[in-house]
């Protein structure tokens, strides 16, 4: 599986007005993600830059123990004024975590994701983490479950973990070279022994990479976090990125080291500096990874609650929720309604943020949309399409590069006026495409598409998609040539 890069050209969070004139550094790569991954991340604030404006996440701190030491972590630190990974105010037992989740879900209906991210390692506390997941999957089945781990215990726990229908796993992998690893991890606890130095780093790296492969083989979405540490792993992250890509990670998130003296970590005390914004960007470029999706990553605490840009954890401390009497069923109904509403509103925003880059309009390659019900044929009415397949064609090849979902605007002859805005959304969704192939199309949408610079065609109805795309590519080339000749004559 290729490492897909998720990005949006609207990364500043402004209105979705990124025009076709955008230089296209953030091409429509989101669209290149397989539909099942898009579906998985559409409500996940940590993986989707759109979602993070609308959906909330919550970490439950049921995992205080850790099985490794990292030089950027100080296990003694516990302060409510601190906001960084590994820090929490109170550790919860699984039943307390369930109660807290219910309280938060009742108060914040945008809550879509529940994660276990420490303050130690989720899998070094397997019993408590799995008990928590079990309770949650029974009582809050609508919440997506995810966990964050250093990966040491992934291989031995893989089957148990996958039994809980966990959507996403984040593994923090800082290097794949034990010589570098020993500068980051002073020890690990492995098979009932404390192991130190290079040997420890070697075991950890082996387990991390094996764990990553095992997860992706089982269809679990895996993100890899890497802490960028200048002088230690900054020259190495490109190699690391390549390896995790090979093993199926869907996203690589490079995070800057947080190391202040007052945090008391080894790196903090030893004066290890954090990377500058420029260094971070350079490292991201070296990885060939467009980090735009993860620009909103807030490096949250292990008990964070709320939208990514806020932490309402303090409102939901155990003593505060102890007295609450929550009508959970009602809260669940409300949550479903609120989230459905958000998704509906997000769709146009999502579509419009998916943009083409300039190379699409160049001679070398063209982006063509296809309405298909399946079987590899151009066999769907434009107005019935809920998804367009995107193909990139050039002189030599036709390649599926992704899909874009829309709401079908045509449900028969009734309510046509009300469907107009959906038509607009469909057209906006096709921005960057030069043509759209379908089995049939009405006159109204035909005109609108043409006005938007997208050539509609039902000439290839019921043809095989690849042949039809190759044909329209040639037609567009000819048309362009004719236009050029005409303008020369004029």
């Amino acid at each position: 599986m290729e490492l897909n890069i998720i990005a949006s050209s609207c990364d500043d969070g402004s209105a979705p007005s990124c025009g076709a004139g955008d230089t296209g550094a953030a091409a429509s790569v989101r669209a290149a993600l397989p539909a099942h991954i898009q579906k998985k991340i559409e409500t996940h604030p940590c993986y989707s830059d759109q979602a993070h404006h609308h959906f909330a996440r919550m970490h439950v701190a049921v995992a205080p123990a850790c099985n490794i030491q990292c030089n950027y972590c100080n296990r003694k630190y516990d302060c409510s004024n601190e906001s960084r990974p590994g820090v929490v105010s109170e550790v919860l037992q699984p039943e307390q975590a369930l109660k807290k989740v219910k309280a938060v879900a009742a108060e914040i209906p945008q809550l879509s994701v529940l994660g276990i991210a420490g303050p130690g390692d989720a899998l070094a506390n397997a019993k408590r983490s799995f008990e928590t997941f079990k309770l949650l999957s029974q009582e809050t089945p609508d919440l997506k479950l995810c966990l964050s781990t250093n990966g040491l215990m992934l291989p031995p726990l893989i089957d148990e973990l996958c039994a809980f229908n966990i959507d996403h796993v984040t593994i923090t992998i800082n290097c794949i070279d034990a010589d570098i690893g020993q500068k980051i991890y002073p020890w690990i606890y492995w098979k009932n022994r404390r192991i130190r130095g290079r040997k420890a780093a070697k075991i950890l790296i082996e387990q991390q990479l094996l764990g990553l492969s095992l997860l992706t083989e089982r269809g679990v979405l895996v993100k890899v976090n890497t802490v960028l540490i200048p002088g230690i792993n900054d020259h190495h992250v490109a190699e690391l990125s390549k390896e995790i890509k090979k093993r199926g990670a869907f996203l690589h998130n490079l995070m800057p080291l947080i190391a202040e003296k007052e945090h008391g970590s080894y790196f903090g005390l030893m004066g290890q500096r954090a990377p500058s914004a420029e260094e971070l960007e350079q490292a991201q470029q070296a990885c060939g990874v467009d980090m735009k999706l993860m620009r909103h990553c807030r490096q949250c605490r292990a008990d964070a609650v709320g939208m990514l840009n806020e932490d309402r954890g303090a409102e939901f401390s155990l003593d505060k929720i102890a007295e609450q009497d929550i009508d959970y069923k009602q809260a669940q109904v409300r949550r479903a309604a609120v989230q459905k509403d958000i998704l509906n509103k997000l769709k146009p925003e999502y579509c419009e943020s998916v943009h083409s880059n300039t190379e699409i309009s160049s001679n070398s390659s063209r982006l063509i949309a296809v309405a298909s019900k399946g079987q590899g044929l151009v066999n769907q009415h434009f107005g019935h399409a809920t998804e367009f397949l995107l193909y990139r064609a050039d002189a030599d090849s036709v390649q599926l590069v992704g899909s874009r979902r829309v709401s079908a605007y045509c449900h028969g002859s009734e309510n046509c006026d009300e469907q107009q805005d959906l038509l607009e959304q469909s057209i906006a969704c096709l921005e960057g495409c030069e043509a759209v192939l379908c089995a049939k199309i009405g006159w109204g949408p035909w005109q609108k598409l043409e006005a938007a610079g997208i050539r509609p065609s039902s000439d290839h109805a019921m043809e095989r998609i690849d042949a039809a795309v190759a044909a329209i590519y040639k037609e567009l080339n000819q048309q362009q040539q004719t236009c050029a000749e005409l303008s020369q004559l004029a």
């Binding site: 850790c66 099985n67 296990r75 630190y77 606890y189 009932n192 003296k261 080894y266």
Partner: protein
């Protein structure tokens, strides 16, 4: 024969999970060792488990009262550096 845990313990429960004798229990501020149960892992493991997983230097003592993990042994932060770490945690 028993290990003991002192108040620098941060209650991370790591030791409780790995103790083969169920000798460790949680108290309000820290983990405690039931001295009647602790076997120092004799007959279970070559290494004392709580002392092998504990992340806090000096938190677990042997029966002589000596730290299994003296300052600097786990973090690489030796006393002269430790002096610079703020006391309030």
């Amino acid at each position: 024969m028993s290990v003991s845990i002192v108040n620098s313990c941060v209650s991370c429960w790591a030791c409780l999970d790995v103790c083969p004798s169920q000798a460790i229990y949680e108290s309000k501020t820290q983990m405690q060792v039931d001295k009647t149960k602790c076997s120092e892992c004799n007959g279970f493991y070559a290494d004392i488990q709580c002392a092998s997983v504990c992340p806090v230097e000096g938190a677990i003592l042997d029966s002589q009262g000596l730290a299994f993990n003296p300052p600097g042994s786990l973090t690489g932060i030796y006393p002269e550096k430790l002096a610079q770490v703020p006391l309030e945690f």
